[in-house]
């Protein structure tokens, strides 16, 4: 493979999935966001979003906190330090491979 393109073979598969890439991009820009915000911004169904968040949480990239706002349940998501570094590495790898 040509130069930087070799890096594409080693892309983080946890992040390198369209829905999870969108979720991680949104969380990268936020301190925290709730489930409803992520669902609206990604356009995913509840089940789909839950499944992808579980995958990211399992990899240690996302922290999920279930709490309450008043009497209503609230699910807050934020990127961990590991998740931030993983996303930054992902971006660098893609940037190097695509030459931009």
């Amino acid at each position: 493979m040509i130069g930087g393109l070799r890096g594409l073979a080693n892309l983080d598969r946890v992040i390198h999935e369209p829905a999870r890439l969108t979720i991680v991009s949104l969380l990268f820009l936020s301190k925290e966001a709730d489930f409803l915000y992520l669902q609206n911004e990604t356009g995913l169904t509840k089940g789909n979003l839950s499944s992808h968040l579980a995958r990211l949480e399992g990899a240690g990239y996302v922290r999920i906190e279930k709490t309450y706002r008043g009497k209503l349940p609230l699910t807050l998501c934020s990127l961990t330090g590991v998740g931030r570094r993983a996303f930054e590495n992902y971006r660098k790898t893609v940037k190097r491979a695509l030459g931009r």
Binding site: T22, S25, L26, F28, L29, S30, K31, E32, A33, D34, F35, L36, Y37, L38, Q39, N40, E41, R69, L72, P73, L74, T75, L76, R91, K95, R100
Partner: protein
Amino acid sequence: MTGNDPLVAAQRAAERYWNVDGIAEIYVGCLFLLVPVLTFCSEHLPFGPLWFGVGFPVALMGGIVVGRPVIVAIRRRLTYPRTGYVALRRRPTDPAGIALTLIAVAAVVLLIATKGDWSAGVYAATGLISGVINIHLARSMGLSRFYFLGIVSIAAGAALALADPRVPLGMSLLWGVVGVSCVMTGGITLRRYLRTNPAPPPEQA
């Protein structure tokens, strides 16, 4: 990454969310409307000059300090149950935005320095600076209604510079026009937002 970085688009979308419901605009518009209100009080009520001399700085500082908590409290009732909650990380300073603002301020200082009549310069200056800030917000967030607010500010400043009324009246008119415009665009946005995003059933967050 360059301007084609999808993260840039995500950043803009996330910042647009702060203005999705128009609540911040309505709040800022109400702060601007303090100028004509306090000017009226200082000219027609007892304790005259104190209304503006003391009242305005106190109200402005207080308005800035409590602004975010007030807007967030309103959003907890209206926005977050409908389209969700997000707390953004601070973005690094935008050099283009700072440069634009500095150029506007320099142009204004030059205008005032070269023109003998300072009051007309102040109206033009205020309108221009407010306009530039709004246009910068429109560019950075991709919200076209801020272009409208920018044009209104610049036009109001220019019109008052030509008419050149005495300062308290002129500043009241300028901030009154800008304040009403903000409340109007914010109100339209809020109405559209509430129509597009109905309140969720009581059992959902």
